[in-house]
């Protein structure tokens, strides 16, 4: 190093001291510069990565929808980032939207094992999650939810459906095909943009406008952007944007924005995708020794009682939901039968439970009587004092109107 280092201890004059002080301060430029460079890199990297939409031949909305329908990607693997922001409170079974349709289906299921797919699905309904998907043909699918130092995987290989929860070291096994109603297979879980897109396109009819809105880059691939907007008023759905891979027609990104604006309610997109054949070992699962395995049929009614919190609000047995309205304004009506089953905002028994529920909902009155409206950013639900539940991706006014009409 420089020679002055070794004679640092020699006494220096006044002038030397000042110069020395400056020289000392100058050295700190190095760490500061390192911090600056790092900050600049972190700040600017996304700006460069997101620049430039790809140039693709023009395509009509109809052609693009056909492209999605025809898309037959059998072999793929990738990483999907899902962010869900429904806005609290999380009402569990009342979230009956297209985005959480499978979630509420899951709620009706039984629970008894930490690895039971149904008990895991609610987790996807809020927050940001990373999911890995792999598929090789119809009967080889895998979906893994990445958790901190753990992973939850649902693997379908032929007729076997395995769910493995590495955090609790529990596995869940069932056979696909047998009484399918209660089964959750990887393809039933709406985790990939493709699943969401199919759900959204199912809803697309004359109440919907579908347009192609330019192009985008998703997970390093060129994609068209398909935008679906409800034509009706009264729905809380603002717009749905789907990025469709230009080559394969596979949806790569799905974004649902609410009519009220703000952040997306559901945003699911690939961050990495590959159309190569995944390794065969990906789909084989043998429960390790010492792992608690629950068979799909082992679950008894007794175990239903041990439902985790947040699932308690499931519909009582026997109540048959019916749907009124059409298109985006569909409202699910559920008669829970009898008054007082659901504590509503109007009841003033002063119990802590009803007080808590009151704080979550707004009480409303109308021709139908009194009730409480529970709101999320996408789904609203009205529970009337006589035990009827109206829920849908519609505004409060539409719910009250439906309740009045139903009276």
């Amino acid at each position: 190093m420089a020679p002055y280092e070794s004679d640092d201890s020699t006494p220096a004059g006044e002038v030397e001291d000042v110069r020395d002080g400056r020289r000392r301060a100058a050295r700190y430029v190095v760490p500061v510069a390192v911090v600056g460079v790092a900050a600049a890199t972190i700040g600017l990297a996304p700006a460069f990565a997101g620049s430039g939409d790809p140039d693709l031949p023009k395509i009509s909305a109809q052609q693009l929808i056909e492209k999605i329908a025809k898309s037959d990607v059998q072999q793929m693997s990738g990483t999907v980032q899902i962010s869900t922001d429904l806005g609290l409170p999380n009402l569990g079974g009342l979230e009956n939207s297209l985005a959480s349709g499978a979630v509420s289906q899951g709620v009706k299921g039984k629970d008894g094992s930490a690895a039971d797919p149904k008990s895991k699905m609610l987790e996807l309904a809020s927050g940001t999650h990373t999911v890995r998907v792999a598929s090789d043909g119809q009967d080889k699918r895998k979906l893994s939810l990445i958790e901190k130092a753990a992973e939850y995987s649902v693997i379908r290989n032929g007729n076997d459906v395995w769910a493995y929860d590495s955090a609790s070291n529990e596995a869940f096994h069932s056979i696909a095909g047998e009484h399918r109603g209660g089964k959750v297979t990887p393809e039933d879980v709406p985790a990939t943009p493709k699943d969401f897109a199919e759900e959204a396109l199912k809803a697309a009819d004359k109440t919907t406008s579908v347009t192609v809105d330019g192009t985008a880059q998703v997970a390093g691939r060129d994609a068209y952007k398909l935008v679906i907007r409800p034509k009706q008023s009264g729905t809380t759905v603002g717009a749905i944007s789907i990025a469709v891979d230009a080559k394969t027609g596979m949806p790569l990104k799905f974004t649902l924005t609410p009519a009220t604006g703000g952040a997306a309610v559901v945003d699911a997109g690939f961050t990495k995708v590959s159309f190569a054949k995944p390794a065969a070992s990906t789909f084989t699962f043998t429960p390790p020794k010492g792992t608690k395995v629950t068979q799909g049929d082992d679950l008894t009614a007794e175990q239903r009682k041990t439902q985790p919190k947040g699932m308690e609000k499931k519909a009582p047995e026997g109540a048959q939901p019916k749907t009124i309205g059409q298109g985006w304004n569909s409202i699910v009506v559920l008669d829970t039968g009898g008054k007082g089953k659901m504590p509503s905002g109007a009841s003033s028994d002063g119990s802590p439970v009803s007080g808590f529920l009151n704080s979550l909902g707004d009480s409303v009155t109308g021709e139908f009587g009194k009730g409480t409206v529970f709101s999320t950013r996408l789904v609203n639900a009205l529970i009337t004092d006589d035990g009827k539940v109206y829920a849908g991706a519609v505004t409060k006014d539409a719910l009250v109107k439906a309740a009045n009409a139903g009276k």
């Binding site: 190095v30 890995r132 893994s144 901190k148 130092a149 590495s166 070291n169 070992s281 792992t291």
Partner: protein, 298 residues
Amino acid sequence: MSPVETAVTAQPPVVQKPNPLWTFGLLRSELVTTFRRWRTLALLAVLAAVPVLIGIAVKSQTNGGPGGGGHGADGGPAFITQVTNNGLFLVFTALAATLPFFLPMAIGVIAGDAIAGEANSGTLRYLLVAPAGRTRLLFAKYTATMAFCLVATLVVAISALAVGALLFPLGDLTTISGTRISFADGLGRALLIALVVAASLVGVAALGLFVSTLTNSGIAAMATTVGLVITVQILDQIPQLHALQPYFFSHYWLSFADLMRDPVYWDDLIHNLGLQALYAAVFGSAAWARFTAKDITA
């Protein structure tokens, strides 16, 4: 004074320009000093005891039958439920258990003591009498600390492997993604994980070294470094600091678990290594800026 320092000063100081090999001589003496200290050996012994404790606890808990693990990840350190399946998982559990506190504490002690300890015992000026230069001395100190990171991690891993092999079955293991890998592959991943864990401590080591250049009291430097480690980990738990947390050196520590996924999930691992390199660069250069311009009075 330890025999090593006398060894350093006893080197014939005939060369005016420092011989490049001189750095290695200095480094070797630093390594020997570090690893010969009783303090270091005691730290390593404590680290080696952690897997033994975990192994015995898991073994006695699950003697009644399989299962019995906690529900979810909050039941204990990561991978603890899998230990009964395969002894190799004890390596990962032990590393996950020691990484948040024991390992950084040991590093904090060694790094905090590096410069301040010498100043405290009055040996720093003798070290600087040798024509090695301050930058070289600092570099040798930092390298010795990083060597300790690696040795400490390997001590935990090897002790865990031995206990795991003794108490639990070994064999093919199931990754947390549910796929099966051979034992040799698992062993390779265990080694890789140990290296990643050692690399995760590079940031703390640099931070400790910088703190060590600020004071002449070894105890103060150690306490500050360990205190910083704890503070940062507490801050990492506060949801309101969400935006800052990706820049905390401990934020991605547990990402070593991603090596047990199949295929390996690299994103967080790369974040972690990048962050550690950044901390090493920032605090390493800050330590250099401070140490090379400092008045040595002890």
